[in-house]
Symmetry: C2
Subunit: 212 residues, 2 copies
């Protein structure tokens, strides 16, 4: 369908086997139509995975996900050959809206304010999509590749905002802007009420980056 089929266009997620149907789809495809049940299973898996990851974090049992989705474990692995592939598929869409918001905010607000608002939005995302924080901040088991894939668009989004703010001369930033997000995600490991803290941290960061 819609969002999920983003995989078939998104370059990073690769299917384990060569998939002529998909590959040649851009060209004219003489190949047979993909089976309906396969797609159905894939969606069920994706939904279930989203639920389970959201509940138990990104290290939840894949067998449980397969069981709960009503498919065999083999089917899960067919669609998502690695845990990372599944996590990536689950969280891929999330960041899209964040990226979009960056452009919007950038157009509607002065540079620094746009950055600030976007960081607050980022906090909201970390909150609603629980598990994202874990994915974002996890060292343990968190591949760099996975990280990059899961947050595709995010680096560009924040780069857009910081570049603009830096260009305006209002702030100075001698680091990869993504590290701002890492810092924020860091406090997300705290208990309830962390969002308050995170928001305060945003203020501190902004203030600290200001060229005075």
């Amino acid at each position: 369908m819609e969002g999920v089929s983003g995989n078939k266009y998104g370059g990073i997620l690769r299917f384990s086997r060569d998939d002529p149907a998909r590959v040649s789809e851009t060209v004219d495809s003489p190949s047979r139509k993909p089976r309906a049940d396969a797609e159905r299973n894939r969606l069920r898996l994706l939904d279930t995975a989203k639920a389970v990851f959201g509940e138990k974090g990104p290290s939840a049992s894949l067998e449980e996900i397969a069981r709960e989705a009503g498919v065999g474990i083999g089917t899960l692995y067919r669609h998502y050959p690695t845990r990372d592939a599944l996590i990536e598929a689950v969280y891929r869409n999330e960041t899209g809206q964040l990226a979009a918001a960056a452009t919007q905010l950038s157009a509607a607000h002065p540079p620094v304010e746009a950055l600030r608002l976007w960081l607050l939005l980022f906090i909201d995302y970390l909150g609603t999509k629980y598990g994202m924080a874990a994915v974002f901040g996890s060292v343990t088991g968190g591949t760099a590749a996975l990280y990059a894939a899961c947050n595709s668009g995010t680096p560009e989004a924040i780069a857009l905002l910081t570049d603009r703010a830096v260009a305006s001369g209002e702030i100075r930033l001698d680091m990869d802007p993504i590290d701002l997000l890492r810092a924020i995600a860091g406090v997300a490991s705290a208990g309830p009420g962390w969002q308050e803290t995170a928001r305060r941290l945003v203020d501190i960061l902004i203030a600290g980056m200001r060229t005075s």
Copy 2:
């Protein structure tokens, strides 16, 4: 049923190395002297665990640790009934020096500078004792209790520094100071060169907290 030998003295409060108190402390237990081999095994386990955790992170195989220490898996579990207990024992001493440094720095430097230096020291610690960062920042599998135990003394240490800096009127801080550490630990998940970033982050944080 049994008090696991190490934990019987109050688990959390026990020091891993020499414990002279133990000999004379047999007030209400006229029982026999603890066996020498038990203590020996415990120390071997501790050393091995420190090495292995340092190399593979806090999710290393406990079986491997036992194997490498030359004891049975049962022995490991006897001394450290849970993975968390072992991690705690390994990292308990680490923070002691950090805590001590806080007092020292506090006495030798102006408030804000002391705080800054201590945060830099914290970064060094995260670097040298690899795995600490993982323990510190991990949401996945990281119990809150474990977190607290592993970093005993640290909250007090940074509280001392921030309280002093706040009292001097030079900075403002509307959050638990430990969250500063969480933020710093957050960037430790970045690749090589993270220490540079972390140091820059410290500057930003300090600047951001300043009451101008």
